[in-house]
Amino acid sequence: MRHDTLSALRLRLRALWRGRQLDRDLEDEMALHVAMREDANRAAGLDPEEAQAAARRGFGNLLLLRETCRDLWTFRPLEHVSRDLRYGLRMLRRDPGFTAVVVLTLALAVGATTAVFSLLDAGLLRVLPLPEPERLVLLHWTGTPENRTATRRFPGCNEVSSFDCSVPYMTYEGLSGAAQGVAEIAAFSEPQEVQIVSGGEASLSDSQFVSGNFFSVLGLGVGMGRGVVPSDDASGAEPVAVLSHEYWRQRFGGDPTIVGRLIAVNGARLSVVGVANEEFHGLDATHPPGMWIPLHAATLLKTPGSSLDNFLSDDAGVLAAIARLRQGVPMDQARNELTSRFRQLLAQSPKPSVKLDAEAGILLSSGARGLNALRSLYYKPLRLIEGLVGMVLLVACANIANLLLARASSRRREIAVRLAIGAGRKRLVAQMTTEGFLISFLGVGAGLVLGRWGTALLAHFLEPALTAGALAWGRPTTAVLGLAIGMASFTTLVFGLVPAWVSRPVDPARELHSGGLLPAGASLGERAGHLGVWLVTGEVALTLVLIVGAGLLVRTVVNVVSFDPGFRTDHLLTLAMSPVLAGSDTAKMADQLDGIRTRVQAVPGVASVTWASAPPLGSGWELSILWLGDGDGKIEMVETLGIGPRFFEVMKIPLLAGRGVEPGDETSEPHFAWVNRAFVERYHPNSDPLGKSIRVAGLGTSSVEIVGVVENTRYSMILGDIRPTVFSPTRSGARNLLVRTAVSPLNLAAVVEHAVRQGSPRVLVHDVRDQRQSVDEQTSDARLLATTALAFGGMALLLAAIGVYGVLSYSVSRRSGELAVRMALGAVRADILRLVLGEGLRMTVLGAVLGTLAAVGSTRLLAGFLFGVRPLDPLTFAGAILLLLALATVAAYLPANRATRVDPIVALRSE
């Protein structure tokens, strides 16, 4: 039997292969038989005509027999599929408008989904390209809130609620030695800016300082040379650096002879011993390091100001720890062991940086996805966008289902005819599904292409630097493809099943008889009509939620952009400066500041110049400890900023009391300080702050005298709270030149940069920017969300309008008979308009009511992203509702207008 089937299969495949040959063979074979019979008949004495007729009669239905034989040889299902495909294509071509709308809707929906999903995948879901990443864990320590202030927040660590993952070196060393049985622990710093001089050219890069076992713990391979090894990380060891593949390519042009070269890093000579492999972009994809340097080598680097930390100090935790669990050791066991060892360490330590209290312990979290700084930074915006996409997807699906319903209904006569001439219902469903497959195939394919662009676009909005490095962004992974395929299958099924469900109760006789005149007679039409109205109502509701959200976000952006940060952000050029460290004395730049200032001041178009330790709205500002009272130990955190002469005048920050900063105030040991209004309100609410002395860490060892009070500014962050701030004049901390210009700032950029170099050739200038840029960057999240929400809201609005239009058009075309009767009986244009518009507005208003309720319940999810506008802002709600109603009215007017032009005679005759 098995043999039979196999040989039959072979024969059939051959027949399939030969295609039309089979038809010819069958024809020849049977024709021969008839001809021979005819000959025999003639030989028996019949006249030629009779001989032929008798032969044919004797043989039977030639065509039917040929078909029967043909069917034996062919694969029936396959034949059907190809016939359905051809039929489907023909149907799609016949109705290009329908096809275009559905394909476009699907493409947009799939494109948006895959773009967002690709990003989520890259940022949140993707596992580090390291061997056995599941065995990697990040160490966090727990403690009471007082304990936590002792260490610095490590970006990306705050994923496990608020616990910190930075540890003092001593703690790392002690844990690392004790934990050998369960895990091997490596320590690493945040990537920190360092200055590289190689081949006489100075530039900046980020370097990550790591313990000697960092490469072996991660299992990080190299593309060339070797990685950092434990013997590199010891006092007295020759200082080495391992470059990242990306940095090696960018800075050294992929020079194959790089290994063994000496480079100056912050003035120290390090030899390059290797280049890491290409796949690894660091533990935090948003902040890839250019090189890895052993912790002990960091002590050799010159550290101007406080830009580099002393990693080996016991005071502050500036390192994070990642561990590779030993094979087969579960996380719980490792955690218990590490916790008990951690508490022992604290008990033994002469001056523990963390107090040994009941809560002190170690927590572990998965390190398989790295630090996930991306997650903490963009988690919320991405989740929100994901939500928006989901809603648009729903609207899109509702719309497609709606179009299909209308189409299936308009094809009910076709379906009835086909059922009447004997088509099986199963075959009909299969045929519809094939059509659905075709259209979803087209739509999803186009969507994948759109999705690639969308990913690049989104990544560009989120982190412009990332698209340059390309990283792993936007490559569709199996998950993304799986999602797309899932969506395609889903739509195919919906495509097949919706019309199938609608056409299920088609009774051919009744459908053909009724001729569509009486709605009451057509169960099918009723069913499709009701479903369609509900779908549109849902669509309208979802759309309203979307446009309310978009409206709130747009208002946020308007508020943010027009927001006054307390200083003038226009006509302000900022330059970051650092002294070239190779061999020169770092004190030199401070000496040359006046020269630099004079030269820049002399540039035509420059109004005034000063400096500061941190740029406005940029990174680098610091939190310092303020001792309250007379040394009773109470402390608070305040913001501090080092400033140059006439800082407040240049920045246009109003002086409320006291005097401004004069040249000569910036002594090496500061005597004077300025504070903002928030400081006064908090610490000196009822007394005159002028002349009071305060002690702030970082502003020398003794107290400083408050000589001025200035208005509050949002100097570091536009959207943050205003903190008490202490300004003090500085020279050594001058890292940024602030230039107020009379003309467009960027026009002066090159000239000013040149003037700085002339003022001091040993100063490295980088990051020249127009202050408006920083404003834009700080508001990029808000603008990204607003843009996305606006795009999605617009899309949903369009879809909803199409939905309203579609349902009404369908209804009008179905009811043309009824309308004709009404008109024949004396209804005028206004009656008909009111009838159809009323039907459209009924579902829109119902949808709007439901949507308003849903929006009231859900806009508070946006609260964290809003600025200057409340989640239940009545103006936004009213605007959104009006917009929706207006558009729905337009969408309803078109078919309503068409309805008034129904010619009663034509309509009634056509029945």
Binding site: H3, D4, S7, A8, L11, R12, D25, L26, D28, E29, M30, L32, H33, A35, M36, R37, D39, G58, F59, G60, N61, L62, L65, T68, C69, L72, W73
Partner: protein, 115 residues
């Protein structure tokens, strides 16, 4: 086409019989369809007339089952003709069916002769 289970078995029996006759017709030499029909008529002394059209689906079914093989040649009148021949499997099948037929015919004969 006839439908329903009750009426299916006689048809099956008939088809099986036609199949056996076709196989028998090809024992001596390969033939085309017309010759097979003619041979059956002559060999049965004009008693059995195979429905000519129905012959072909039967032939193709047998070919697909691997009991017959086919080649294209030319007829006496120099026309394109498809010649069928028994395969070894066909020969075996014919043997089995002939035995079965003999058994059945003898059984029917005994029943008819019984008193």
């Amino acid at each position: 086409m006839l439908r329903g289970k009750a009426k299916e078995s006689p048809q099956e029996l008939l088809r099986g019989t036609v199949d056996m006759l076709i196989l028998k017709a090809l024992v001596r030499e390969s033939q085309h369809g017309y010759a097979i029909a003619e041979w059956i008529r002559q060999a049965s002394e004009d008693v059995l007339h195979v429905e000519e059209g129905a012959l072909y689906p039967a032939l193709h079914r047998l070919e697909l089952r691997g009991l017959l093989s086919s080649t294209w040649g030319t007829s006496d009148a120099n026309r394109r003709a498809k010649y069928y021949a028994l395969t070894p499997a066909g020969r075996k099948q014919l043997g089995a069916e002939a035995d079965e037929w003999q058994r059945l015919a003898r059984a029917i004969g005994r029943v008819m002769l019984a008193t």
